[in-house]
């Protein structure tokens, strides 16, 4: 089964190797996230002009939209890692899937709260049962379910596999929820940034948005690496490499 995995990936998926790799990369990722985040904030809050319709309130998109993207992107990563974990039983994949869930939940929560803070002045309501909002809420519940199931097991690896299974079921569920709620005509606007055809956003507003998207991606990787490192220490606490780290004088 492991012959399908390239050798370097196989090596990287060994916990001590990944621990060192992630430890070396994490500060750089964090620095990149902070740098791009700062640029995006300056661009979004100071440089970008006010919107013709929404005035300054639209500036919430610079965090709302990247967070919403991340909430879905992280679910995708989690689902992929969950699949790998279930099929090939690779420990690192289990850990990546399980440690992605809290970050995804954090971004989903941010999306919901900032969306609410945007919806009140613009639509006139904090919340509406529209397809996007509802599927985002369901996404939050899925994340919480995965986290809850993971922690309900005494055996961590068994919990990870059960929660990974739930994550896979959830992947199918999110679009279904979206379309089922779509019935009740939707209030949320369409997609602004399109892969095909021109974006309907002015360039001065677009670049901070894209930069922030990049920043959240870097942040996700930095946070994920930190979480995975911690979880590996916990899971492998009986192994020699962890003992060396624990007793070593430097907290590396």
């Amino acid at each position: 089964m492991s012959k399908w995995i390239p050798l370097w990936l196989h090596k990287l998926s060994s916990p001590p190797t990944f621990y060192r790799f992630a430890g070396a990369l994490r500060p750089w990722l964090l620095a990149l996230a902070l740098l791009t985040g700062a640029i995006a904030l300056y661009g979004g809050l100071v440089l970008a002009p006010a919107d013709y319709q929404q005035g300054d309130a639209y500036r919430i998109i610079f965090i709302h939209v990247p967070s919403a993207w991340m909430s879905l992107f992280i679910y995708g990563v989690m689902g992929f890692a969950a699949f790998v974990a279930l099929v090939w039983r690779i420990k690192l994949a289990e850990v990546v899937a399980m440690e992605s869930a809290p970050i995804g939940a954090a971004f989903t929560f941010i999306t919901l709260v900032t969306g609410s803070l945007w919806g009140k002045p613009m639509w006139g309501t904090w919340w509406t049962w529209d397809a996007r909002l509802t599927s985002e809420l369901v996404l939050l519940f899925l994340y919480l379910g995965v986290i809850g199931l993971y922690h309900a097991f005494e055996d961590r690896r068994q919990g990870a596999r059960a929660a990974a299974f739930l994550a896979l079921i959830g992947i199918i569920n999110v679009p279904i929820v979206h379309f089922s709620v779509n019935w009740w005509n939707t209030l949320h606007q369409g997609s602004t940034i399109r892969l095909l055809g021109p974006s309907t956003i002015a360039p001065g507003m677009l670049w901070p948005l894209l930069t922030m998207m990049l920043a959240t991606k870097f942040y996700y990787l930095a946070s994920l690496f930190g979480r995975v490192r911690t979880d590996l220490l916990d899971l492998e606490s009986g192994k020699d490499w962890v003992r060396t780290i624990a007793t070593g004088s430097t907290l590396q």
Binding site: P49, A50, D51, Y52, Q53, Q54, A57, Y58, I61, V65, A68, W69, L72, T111, P121, M122, W123, G124, T125, T128, R132, E136, W183, W184, N185, T186, L187, H188, Q189, G190, S191, T192, I193, R194, T200, I201, A202, G204, M205
Partner: protein, 155 residues
Amino acid sequence: MNPTRKRRLIVVLLVVAAATVAVGLGVFALQQNMNYLFTPSQVQSGAASSHKTFRLGGMVKAGSIQRSKTSLLATFTVVDADGAMPVEYTGILPDLFRDNQSVIATGHMDNAHFVATEVLAKHDETYMPKELKDAMAKAHKDKPMPEGSDAGGSP
């Protein structure tokens, strides 16, 4: 055929059969008319007459907004391509509520006008500075901004 393969084949056949039935039912369901939003012209043609409460969707007619000086009562007209419906609403209207804005109002008919219990403003997915918008508006004289389709993948 060995039992494992046979079992797998049965499972695959069952899944395919179920998917076929499900697709059939889905196609049938799509052919049914599911309309939860009525435009003023539909209301006037009597399409919504069987409902007590329904949703009215359309654009706010320019210059039709009248606010009461003593209360929160507001009256305005919602129009679509070839219909208009007077609406009355008591409450605080959202900031985006203005002339030529797409709105969705929930409520019921009272004689010839619509009494709304909730008014929501729908904004489009276009973001641009005011100057640019003015410039564009000048370019395509009195052409409304394109209302985007809702088929996008990202929120």
